[in-house]
Symmetry: C2
Subunit: 107 residues, 2 copies
């Protein structure tokens, strides 16, 4: 049995976003992502083959999803479903506290 706690071992300053795989199965991958002020590089977009369900657990973030009128401001508890190949980017994450995401990639 795999068990743990998402809120332990959270760095407050990271050179790069940290991605830790929590579950990897044929159809599903679950990750914890920690951002400390990181954003997607200017002009870059995520464009993924798999659908993604993402939940923000701590901190805050601005998410730009192509086709949405406004950036989404994500706070603890906020979740978003992103269909395959819907381009999206992280405009900002909280500069003062770690932002913790749970990402569920599936097909």
């Amino acid at each position: 049995m795999m068990a743990g706690n998402l809120f332990v071992n959270v760095a407050h300053r990271l050179a790069d976003e940290q991605i830790v795989e929590l579950l990897s199965a044929r159809n599903v991958r679950i990750e914890r992502i920690v951002s400390t002020g990181h954003a997607t590089a200017p002009g870059e977009w995520y464009d993924q083959d798999r659908a993604e369900w993402v939940l923000l657990l701590a901190g805050s973030a601005g998410l730009i999803v192509e086709g949405e009128a406004e950036p989404l401001v994500l706070e603890p508890g906020s979740y978003v479903h992103i269909a395959p190949h819907v381009r999206h980017r992280v405009a900002w994450t909280d500069p003062s506290v770690p932002t913790i995401w749970l990402a569920v990639h599936y097909q």
Copy 2:
């Protein structure tokens, strides 16, 4: 796009556990579960065809997993993977505040 916040519309007193489906796809179902002191009925066990990855977001709970020496005490951020047909039951949930779970069922 489906978006929302897991921490809104949380009842503080429920006759039964409340299950809200957040995502339903062929291989994955994601639910929010709210417990207000609920436990699995004495002598009953969950025995599921699909694997489950469960995350406790608020409150606390005691989870008994068959084959584990000790009950697991789950606090905010605690996650557990439960393989198909591994019998388990909820011994208790926090009587004073709502316990919020995220359950990812997959095959």
